[in-house]
């Protein structure tokens, strides 16, 4: 079996070292972005964002349409330049020079919404190889990366020589993600990777991604509308509103502020809502509950308590 660990890595420190390292992989300082500045269409999308993304963190980014999510993530690999503020990758300003921009593009991988619409090569193999090729890796390195990334997203060897356009929507989506994973980015940013898929497809993609994360220890930022999914997979959640960071913390911390979330027009997980209802009915549930498992265990422990008494 091929794993990313086999890949010759130039600047990447060893995984253990990486997790221990205290400096954040990304540091966003006072980031502000105004679209069409100086025109009547002027639109301020980000207002002084300060964030630190740790190495190996899995973060869910939440906020409704227009909260600045897309603008924020496109800053992270220098696709959009800040109106004000700085972004540091490993301590270095990514917009400092052409070279630093190029470096940011490969070290921060960005998967857009509906990425299957960007496939263009004749074969799956060639499409996944596009990113590594642009990084000017050797054919051997490219080959290792293509095969390993295809495996991470559950695309079998037999599909590599097929045309991506003959495959199903879910497969295309995974190939497109593999195309970004193949650049072996230290931060993988995904904009709604599960949009439009059926439940099985959603689960598969998330499991593939978590597998990739566990194998490489690389940081992952997932933009999603699904509170449930964010809560299930992320250790940290960032809630954006009006271009500002409204909340930043563990799912527990975020979901404990149920009222504020609702005021922002965001849905809270069904289980959080259920817990609130149950408390109204006098069921003494403790702590913040946001997954089915937590709710089950909380209720069962209550029952245990009842039986003991």
């Amino acid at each position: 079996m091929l794993i990313m660990g086999d890949i010759p890595q130039k600047r990447k420190p060893h995984r253990k070292e990486k997790c221990m390292s205290k400096t954040p992989i990304l540091k966003i300082e006072n980031l502000t972005h105004v679209y069409s500045k100086g025109t009547p269409f002027e639109l301020s999308a980000l207002n002084g964002i300060n964030l630190e993304i740790g190495r190996g963190e899995v973060i869910g980014i939440i906020g409704h349409t227009g909260s600045g999510k897309s603008t924020l993530i496109q800053h992270l690999n220098a696709l959009i330049k800040p109106t004000d503020g700085k972004i540091y990758l490993d301590g270095k300003d990514i917009n400092e020079s052409k070279q630093s921009v190029k470096e940011a593009r490969s070290r921060v991988g960005l998967v857009f919404q509906y990425p299957e619409y960007q496939l263009f090569e004749e074969t799956v193999y060639k499409d996944i190889a596009f990113g590594p090729k642009n990084m000017r890796l050797t054919p051997d390195e490219i080959d290792v990366r293509v095969r390993a990334s295809a495996q991470f997203v559950g695309i079998g060897e037999e599909l590599l020589e097929r045309s991506p356009f003959d495959l199903s929507g879910g497969q295309k989506r995974r190939i497109a993600i593999a195309g970004v994973i193949a650049m072996l980015p230290e931060v993988l940013v995904l904009d709604e990777p599960m949009a439009g898929l059926d439940p099985a497809g959603r689960r598969e993609i998330m499991e593939n991604l978590m597998g990739y994360h566990q194998e490489t220890g690389n940081a992952m930022l997932i933009v999603t509308h699904s509170m449930e999914e964010a809560a299930r997979y992320a250790q940290r959640m960032i809630v954006l509103e009006h271009g500002r960071v409204a909340m930043d913390g563990t799912p527990e911390q975020v979901f404990s502020r149920e009222k504020e979330l609702k005021e922002m027009g965001l849905a809270v997980p069904e289980m959080t809502e259920l817990a609130e209802k149950l408390r109204e009915y006098g069921v003494p549930l403790e702590g913040t509950i946001y997954t089915v498992e937590q709710m089950r265990d909380a209720l069962l422990s209550l029952k245990g308590g009842l039986q003991d008494a």
Binding site: Q74, N77, L79, K102, R105, S106, G109, L110, V111, F112, P115, Y117, Q118, L119, F120, F130, G131, N134, M135, F165, G179, V180, M183
Partner: protein, 267 residues
């Protein structure tokens, strides 16, 4: 950004200019173009400038917006003007090496630039104040008589309005695909011409595939909404010529006559 292109853009409004029958506006623009080509003196340019200015004022569209339409062609205009400055013979003002700047050249350059700019602004006024659908309806009806000689007028008009409908969507899509390929390290700026052309493939292939997919889905959606060609179709907005249309025609003919008279007297 590609998004800034205003090609075929419509600015909704409810002014006299907006309310004019699209057929009237198309004919007026044609008259305007003819007049612009006949005009060749200060007086006639002044007259045309008054016409253009009143149209812009009446439409309440900001001058800056109208000027923006000229921007993409600024280089062409500059080159035309530049050539006129040096290649017109006449009263020499400055002379160095093989270049001669003449008084006539400067005048010519100014007029030529002004003519192109005014032509563009005038034609853009049509698309700015007429919704693409109304525009196609207008063209369809003006060309209506051609149906007799088996010209597929409705089909052509429908194709045109579909194209107008899809342009903003495809522009947005191009932006997205470009960003996505840049995120995979694609480089569109460096390299020689062949390399640059090759670098466009990752944009063009997905764009074409997506355009075909969209066209396909749109066709199904249109069929679902009972589209079956132009036969028996009615309109939400029926075109009716009113008093303002006839007055505009009269004014346009007067202006054209004025310009021709001025030209006749060499003014």
């Amino acid at each position: 950004m590609l998004k800034d292109i205003t090609l075929g853009q419509y600015f909704p409004g409810n002014t006299v200019v907006h309310r004019l029958d699209p057929r009237t506006k198309i004919v007026l623009v044609l008259i305007y173009i003819v007049a612009m080509f006949i005009a060749e003196s200060f007086a006639s340019y002044a007259l045309m400038l008054v016409v253009l200015a009143s149209a812009i004022l009446l439409s309440r569209i900001r001058l800056a917006t109208v000027l923006k339409g000229v921007k993409p062609l600024i280089l062409v205009i500059a080159i035309t003007a530049f050539l006129n400055v040096f290649y017109t013979s006449g009263h020499i003002l400055v002379e160095f090496w093989i270049f001669k700047i003449t008084k006539e050249g400067i005048f010519n350059a100014i007029f030529m630039a002004l003519r192109i700019i005014m032509l563009i602004m005038g034609t853009f006024m049509l698309t700015y104040t007429t919704s693409p659908i109304m525009l196609t309806v207008g063209i369809e009806q003006l060309l209506g008589p051609l149906k007799v000689i088996k010209v597929p007028v409705h089909e052509l008009a429908m194709m045109m309005s579909m194209a107008l409908r899809l342009i903003p969507t495809l522009i947005e899509e191009t932006d997205k695909i470009m960003s996505a390929q840049k995120a995979r390290g694609a480089d569109f700026d460096t390299g020689n011409l062949v390399q640059k052309a090759k670098a466009l493939l990752p944009i063009l292939v997905p764009l074409f595939i997506s355009a075909f997919r969209r066209a396909d889905e749109l066709a199904v959606a249109m069929e679902s909404r009972c589209y079956h060609g132009g036969e028996g179709r009615t309109r939400l907005n029926v075109l009716t010529m009113g008093g303002r249309d006839y007055i505009s025609f009269a004014l346009a003919v007067a202006v054209l006559a004025g310009v021709i008279t001025l030209a006749h007297f060499g003014l």
